[in-house]
Structures are given as structure tokens and as C-alpha cells.
């Protein structure tokens, strides 16, 4: 009989659970609050950290950018405009920056001073902070030494002259430095808060920023809710009352949430949905300053021969790849550096540089024959390595087929899990490897200096004295002369495309879903997914 009562107990319990579920069904739907000035945006991932000194991810940067403000802030023109600094002067030698700060406050009402910038930057550089992006500050004199543990904080050349004046001295002129002052690593910090609450960056109540919005709640893997920050210096121009960052990483789920009205703005659109969205007013394809390319391992046969590399690069149909496989309105790439960077004359760097090669199957065949593989005969057994992903696989299959058809060579495909792939790429343990590159800052140098000899991001084994010289020149002797500096980078790119240690495939785009009544949202080509300072709902 004991069993019987036990069983009843169990059954009753299960029924109770079910009853609760059913009872809940009649409840409230997903209606929103009274104010319509709210944007619900899916950033696509749980942030790894919202501590500006430690953050590295793009979702993290996007959220931080809404709640913090650096000396500058990028506007709709893709140029750094005044942020907490209302103006600045740069010395003629390009090394000393003097920023004039406006009267600004932290979200808790504390006054924001030049000292807070010094604190924030030194905190990022402090070896104990474990900031991965601390090297973004290495342009500053003494910063690298302090960060590496060989120098001290007092030798870092950033100084609060008074409450409203910040002076920075760089090691060498670096035109990208001004833009970097909007980057998350260079945010100011309210030291009092950080000292009192060591876990401040994870706690909404203590997450004190100086940006247009402030955090109300953080529901892990669900949503971060923000409201307008009334203490923001430019609060009068912030129209949005609420800003919700959804942390949904499955983009098909995000797509369904957009379609059913749970969110207003979705950053990553699933590739398979794109063809059906082409004429939808919610759908936009935004430029993204990033390049999709293949690396050749030039330390290995047959890729030690530039003719082979060039032949492979000439023998694929990029237009077809973009149109039929990638399908997101990407641009076929015939150079390394994507559109979106300003040249010395203010025009686009890519437009000025143009294309460095043309697809040409006949020419490719000739090159391959010249390298000793007429009609593909005797071509070694090689493979394309890519990190496991349907899109990368589809592109690799297309390229495999094109090479087979055009050059009569067989390549294998081989996918690897992300970390194994990174590891093999760094150790040059591959033949051909898929790669993508997004800029760290808005200057062509973020691409150009990848391929210097033994550069940490080279990963092809390629080394060229002429190339190294041009990059060094651009960074040193020509650093103060924009025209000469840009010319160095154009020449370097030309050389790179002539020797082809890498094969460009396309320039990325960013397909987004955004309700047409959201206005003033800026979708920049790099670093953050979206800028919400000027956003509003119509």
C-alpha cells in the first residue's frame, strides 16, 4: 500500500506541474510598456565582459559603446567626432594630443574629469588588469613598457593638466590614434566605483558609465535592459527612453523573433533567408570593412612558387561565389584592403587603389604550366582547411569545383573545429586556409601590417623585404605625411597582390533586419554593430 500512496503522490505532483503550465497559458502576451521610444536589438551573443578595459568582442563593444563615451565618438560620417572632448589640438610633429574636456558627469552624478581618463587608461595598461586589448594603447609613450612590466605607470605619457585638459604624447605619429579614443579600451573609469565594487562590471547597479544609456538589468543569455542616462552631457539629444540588448546567439531564432515582433533589429541574418528577403523593406545590406580570403602556406610545395598561387587566384569566379553561394550582396575582392577607409585625398582607399588583378582562366593555365604542372598534371595532393561552418564549406566546395574545371587540379576539403583550426594556422600546418579579417581601427594599416615578415597575423610564412620596408616607412619616416604614408600602403598592397601569399575572395557585407520606423541608428562598417546615441522610433 505504501507504493500506492507514493505513486499517487508522484502523479499528483506531475499533474500540478502541468496544471501550472496550462494555467499560465492564458496570461499576458509580449506587450511592451507605454513609451514607444524603445528599441529591442539582438546583439547576437552573451557579452564576455562589459568591463571596457577587458572587452574584446564586437557584441561587448556594441553594448559598452551605448553606456560609455570616450574622448571621441564616431558619427554617421564614419569619422571620430567630439565626445567627452569638445575639441583637441595635435602638435605639428603629430605626437602630442591635447584634449579639451567638456563639463560631463558619470551616470551616478559624479563629475567626470581628465583624471578619470588617466585612471581608465592606466588601468587597462596595468598588467594586473589582464587586458587583452591593452596593446591598443601602446602608441602612447611609456605605455608598452608599463604594460609589459618593464616600465612604470608614472612614465606613461598621459597627463591630466587640469580637470578639463588631457595631454597625451605618442611614441611616433599615429594618424589612427584619434579614432582609437572612441574605442572601448580607451574609456575613462570612475575609480571610486571600481575600488568600492570589484564586481562592478557584472552588476547593473554599480555599472557606472558616462554614455547615453545606463544599465537597468542583465539577465544572462537573455537580455540587457538599458534606459536613457539623464546625467549624460548630451542627454537633450538622446530621444530613446529604453534600449534592450537581446543576447540570442542562434540567428534563425533571432530571425523568428524579428518576424514575430519580439525584437526590432537583428544583426546577423541567416543566409538561407536572404534570397526571400530581397524586396523586404525591413532588410538592408550594410557595408562592412572586412575581407574573406584564403591563405597559402608559402613554405610548402607547390605554394612556394608565386606562379602557382597566382594561377589559383585567377582561376575562380568570384562573382559566382558571391551571387550563388555567399548570397549576402558581398563584393568580389581583387585586393586585400576593403572599401571603407579614407585615403589621403579623402576618397576611398580601395577606389583609389582599384583592382590588382583580373580573373583569367587562360592566363592561369599558362602560369600553372610554367610552374611545371601543365593541365594540372603532377599537381601535389593539397587541401583547403576551413573552420567548421556551412558557409565556409559551401564556398570551399565551389572553389574546389572551379579549380577542377578550370585547371584540372584536385584539392581536398578539410574542416576543423575553431581552436584546432587556429592552432594549425598559426603553426603553418596547412596547405590553403580560409581566413577572414576585420579591422581594429579605421585605417588601411590594420590590414597592411598583417603580412610583414614574422608578423603575428601573417600566418603564411611569406616574407618580403620590400614589403617590410614600405610598412616600416609608413609607420615611421612617412607617419607624419599622410600622402606618402598612404602611397606606401598602396605600394605594399600592390606588391602583396603581385606575390599573392593570400588570395582575396570577397569583401564582407552586413545583412541586417531593421524595422523601417527605427531612425538615426548608425550601422558602422567596423568595431560596433550599431550606434544608438541618435536613434529614435518614428
Amino acid at each position: 500500500m505504501f507504493f500506492k500512496s507514493k505513486k499517487f503522490f508522484l502523479l499528483a505532483g506531475l499533474l500540478a506541474v502541468l496544471a501550472m503550465m496550462v494555467a499560465g497559458c492564458g496570461g499576458q502576451g509580449g506587450t511592451q510598456g507605454a513609451s514607444n521610444q524603445i528599441i529591442r536589438f539582438n546583439v547576437g551573443a552573451e557579452p564576455q565582459t562589459l568591463d571596457p578595459a577587458k572587452a574584446t568582442g564586437i557584441p561587448d563593444a556594441t553594448i559598452i559603446n551605448a553606456m560609455f563615451e570616450g574622448l571621441t565618438r564616431y558619427g554617421a560620417d564614419n569619422k571620430p567626432g567630439p565626445g567627452i572632448a569638445e575639441s583637441w589640438t595635435i602638435s605639428p610633429d603629430g605626437k602630442t594630443y591635447t584634449f579639451k574636456l567638456r563639463d560631463a558627469k558619470w551616470s551616478n552624478g559624479d563629475p567626470l574629469t581628465a583624471r578619470d581618463f588617466v585612471d581608465g587608461w592606466l588601468r587597462a595598461l596595468n598588467p594586473n588588469t589582464q587586458s587583452e586589448y591593452a596593446y591598443q594603447l601602446w602608441y602612447i609613450k611609456g605605455a608598452e613598457e608599463y604594460n609589459k612590466g618593464t616600465g612604470s605607470a608614472k612614465d606613461v605619457a598621459v597627463r591630466a593638466v587640469d580637470d578639463h585638459t588631457l595631454q597625451v604624447v605618442l611614441k611616433a605619429p599615429a594618424p589612427q590614434f584619434l579614432g582609437l579614443t572612441s574605442f572601448e579600451t580607451l574609456m575613462p573609469i570612475d575609480s571610486k566605483v571600481v575600488k568600492e565594487h570589484p564586481d562592478w562590471a557584472a552588476s547593473p547597479a554599480n555599472y557606472i558609465g558616462d554614455g547615453p544609456y545606463k544599465m537597468v538589468s542583465w539577465d544572462h543569455n537573455q537580455v540587457i535592459k538599458c534606459v536613457k542616462n539623464p546625467n549624460y552631457w548630451d542627454a537633450a539629444n538622446v530621444k530613446l527612453a529604453k534600449l534592450d540588448f537581446y543576447l540570442v546567439d542562434n540567428n534563425t531564432t533571432g530571425y523568428n523573433m524579428f518576424k514575430t515582433g519580439q525584437i526590432d533589429f537583428q544583426y546577423n541574418v541567416p543566409v538561407q533567408e536572404i534570397p526571400g528577403l530581397k524586396n523586404n523593406p525591413d532588410f538592408k545590406i550594410m557595408p562592412q570593412a572586412a575581407t574573406y580570403f584564403y591563405r597559402f602556406n608559402v613554405t610548402k610545395k607547390p605554394f612556394n612558387d608565386p606562379r602557382v598561387r597566382r594561377a589559383l587566384a585567377l582561376a575562380i569566379d568570384r562573382q559566382a561565389i558571391v551571387r550563388d553561394v555567399a548570397r549576402g550582396g558581398q563584393l568580389p575582392a581583387y585586393a586585400l584592403i576593403p572599401p571603407g577607409f579614407k585615403d589621403a585625398d579623402g576618397k576611398d582607399f580601395r577606389q583609389n587603389g582599384g583592382n590588382y588583378f583580373q580573373e583569367d582562366v587562360a592566363g592561369a593555365k599558362k602560369l600553372l604550366a610554367g610552374a611545371g604542372y601543365p593541365d594540372g598534371r603532377g599537381f601535389p595532393d593539397v587541401s583547403i582547411m576551413y573552420n567548421t561552418n556551412d558557409q565556409h564549406k559551401a564556398i570551399a566546395e565551389a572553389i574546389q569545383a572551379m579549380w577542377k574545371k578550370n585547371l584540372n587540379i584536385n584539392v581536398q576539403l578539410h574542416n576543423e573545429e575553431w581552436q584546432t583550426y587556429l592552432n594549425d594556422m598559426q603553426k603553418l600546418n596547412y596547405d590553403i586556409a580560409r581566413a577572414g579579417w576585420v579591422p581594429d581601427y579605421l585605417d588601411p594599416m590594420t590590414f597592411a601590417d598583417m603580412f610583414v615578415t614574422n608578423g603575428g597575423n601573417n600566418e603564411t610564412g611569406w616574407s618580403n623585404k620590400g614589403y617590410d620596408t614600405l610598412i616600416t616607412k609608413a609607420k615611421t619616416t612617412d607617419a607624419g605625411n599622410p600622402k606618402a604614408r598612404m602611397a606606401d600602403m598602396h605600394n605594399a598592397e600592390k606588391l602583396l597582390m603581385d606575390r599573392m601569399p593570400i588570395m582575396p575572395i570577397y569583401f564582407y557585407t552586413q545583412p541586417v533586419l531593421i524595422k523601417p520606423n527605427l531612425k538615426g541608428v548608425i550601422i558602422p562598417p567596423f568595431n560596433v554593430e550599431a550606434e544608438f546615441k541618435w536613434a529614435y522610433v518614428q
Partner: protein
């Protein structure tokens, strides 16, 4: 009884230690690491970070340190989610996975057991064929297909349910259904075959011969005896479902523990891999243990203390 409990406890601790050790070794053998990124870090910065997490020390030292803090219940910080601890991640994620799992198991049992009983009693009837056809579907359709299908129909087409996220009861319906399909099918099959076996037994004939009403024969003699395999299956099922499903949690954007179990491996987030594995293993062992205890109440033939005390 006490002796039995002690023996089980020691066995569980040894098993747990083996699991920790093996996981520790395997995860360090796999290439990559928690701080490997597409843009390699400057070596000085990397060194500094490694030192902070004591990853510059020899592996055996990291291992003993880890066991040391484990004894204090400290599973360490997450490497990826820099402001969170493994304890915190489990504390946040487990209740969500467990709540979802409880609903899924309730559905599986409430439908699976009666379906199995009816199929067995009416063997080769249309009810039997229908139930077995449905269980075949339940077995063979993967949860991500079912999840996608449910979302498409009930959220996208009909608009009856919110497509994703967690918090309200209606948000639990689709993920719970997707999660319950496989165990439901399994429970129904298990119950059916076990019932069929029991129905052939002599004591069933005796019960009927005694003139007991059919209802009592089925309920008291058949079901009670036939349910043992389902209870056995319940242990690992509860452990498996309560600790979360990566696929279902990912598709429905549910902040459960299952996603961390999978993601931590991709991210080489060593402390999360270890912490969640330990938690999962301990939970699984506990469930199996509870199942063994439950036999005593279900099956009169089982005595825990072994032969001597009989």
C-alpha cells in the same frame, strides 16, 4: 543499510575523481586554449594573463590546485566570461534547465506510461499500432527538427506562442515538447515490452483465477511489476534532461546549463568544462543512487543490505 550507503558513497567519490582526472588530461591534450584568438595576443600580454590564471605552472600543479579548491566547493572563475564564476554559471543555469527538464519528463511519463500500458493490453490493435508508429517518429526525429517545426507552426504561422526566450509558462511549452519526444517514445516502448512480459507470468493467471477484478489485476499486479525498467531509466533520464540540452536551449534561447556544457568545450574554457562535468557526473550518480533506493519500494524482492540481513 548504513554499510551499503557508505560503500556507495566511497564508490561514487572514486568514480568522480577518475572523471575529474580524465577530463583534466583530455582537455589539456586537445589543441588550443582559452586565450587562443584569431588575432594572436602579444606574447607579453598572453604571459601575463596565463600567470593570472596560474596556467603558467606545471600541469600537475594546476591539477592539485584545482582539487584543493574543489574541496572547498570552489570551481574557479570562467576564462571566457571574465566577470563570472563557474559556481555562478551553474547556479544561474541549472535551475532553468531543471525546470524545463521537469516539465519535459512530466510530459514523457504522463503520456509514455499510459501509452505503453494500453499498447500492451491491446496488443496488435489499432491503438497499439498507432502508439508504436508515433514512438518510431519520436525516436527518429531529432530534437532540433522538432524544435524548428514547433517554432514554425506555433510561433511563426499561428502566432500562438512566443518563439523563444525564457520566463513565462508559455515560453516553456515548445522546448518542453521538443525535449520530451525522445524519452516519451522510449518510456512507451519500455513500458509496453515490460508489460507484455509481465502479462505472461503465472502470477497473473493466479490473480485472475482468484477472481480479482481485471482493473485490480492490471493495476496492482501487472503495472507495479512492469514499471521497474522505467524507474531504472528515470535515473539517467533525469540527470540527462535536468542538466540541459544544448540544441533545444540554443534554438529557444533558453539560459540553461546545457549550452555552457557544449560552448565551454569550443571555447576551451577549462574551468567551465571541468566544473560542469563534475556537476553533471555527481548529479547522474546521485540519480542512479536514488533509483536504486526506489527499487526497495517498488519491488518487494529487492533488499539493499544484501544477503546477510535477509
Amino acid at each position: 543499510m548504513t554499510k551499503y550507503l557508505l560503500r556507495r558513497l566511497v564508490a561514487m567519490l572514486i568514480a568522480l575523481w577518475l572523471i575529474i582526472t580524465l577530463t583534466f588530461i583530455i582537455m589539456h591534450v586537445v589543441p588550443g586554449g582559452p586565450f587562443a584568438t584569431e588575432k594572436p595576443l602579444p606574447p607579453e600580454i598572453l604571459k601575463n594573463i596565463m600567470a593570472h590564471y596560474h596556467m603558467n605552472e606545471p600541469l600537475w600543479r594546476q591539477y592539485t590546485d584545482y582539487l584543493g579548491s574543489l574541496l572547498h566547493g570552489d570551481l574557479g572563475p570562467s576564462f571566457k566570461y571574465q566577470d563570472r564564476t563557474v559556481n555562478g554559471i551553474i547556479r544561474d543555469g541549472f535551475p532553468v534547465s531543471a525546470a524545463l527538464g521537469a516539465v519535459a519528463i512530466a510530459i514523457a511519463l504522463l503520456i509514455g506510461i499510459p501509452a505503453g500500458i494500453v499498447s500492451a493490453l491491446r496488443r496488435n490493435s489499432w491503438q497499439d499500432y498507432l502508439a508504436m508508429a508515433l514512438t518510431t517518429i519520436g525516436f527518429s526525429v531529432p530534437s532540433f527538427i522538432l524544435a524548428g517545426l514547433l517554432m514554425y507552426v506555433f510561433a511563426y504561422r499561428l502566432g500562438w506562442l512566443p518563439p523563444a526566450m525564457w520566463g513565462s509558462p508559455q515560453q516553456a511549452i515548445m522546448p518542453a515538447l521538443a525535449l520530451s519526444a525522445l524519452p516519451m517514445a522510449f518510456v512507451a516502448r519500455l513500458m509496453r515490452s515490460s508489460m507484455l512480459e509481465v502479462l505472461q507470468q503465472d502470477y497473473m493467471r493466479t490473480a485472475r483465477a482468484k477472481g480479482l477484478p481485471e482493473r485490480l489485476v492490471v493495476w496492482r499486479h501487472a503495472v507495479r511489476n512492469a514499471i521497474t525498467p522505467v524507474v531504472t531509466y528515470l535515473g539517467p533520464l533525469v540527470a540527462g534532461i535536468f542538466t540541459g540540452s544544448f540544441v533545444v536551449e540554443n534554438i529557444f534561447a533558453i539560459p540553461g546549463l546545457g549550452r555552457y556544457y557544449v560552448m565551454s568545450i569550443t571555447d576551451r574554457d577549462y574551468t567551465v568544462i571541468l566544473g560542469v562535468t563534475i556537476f553533471y557526473s555527481a548529479f547522474l550518480m546521485l540519480m542512479n543512487f536514488l533509483v536504486d533506493l526506489a527499487y526497495v519500494f517498488i519491488d518487494p524482492r529487492v533488499k539493499l543490505a544484501g544477503r546477510k540481513e535477509v
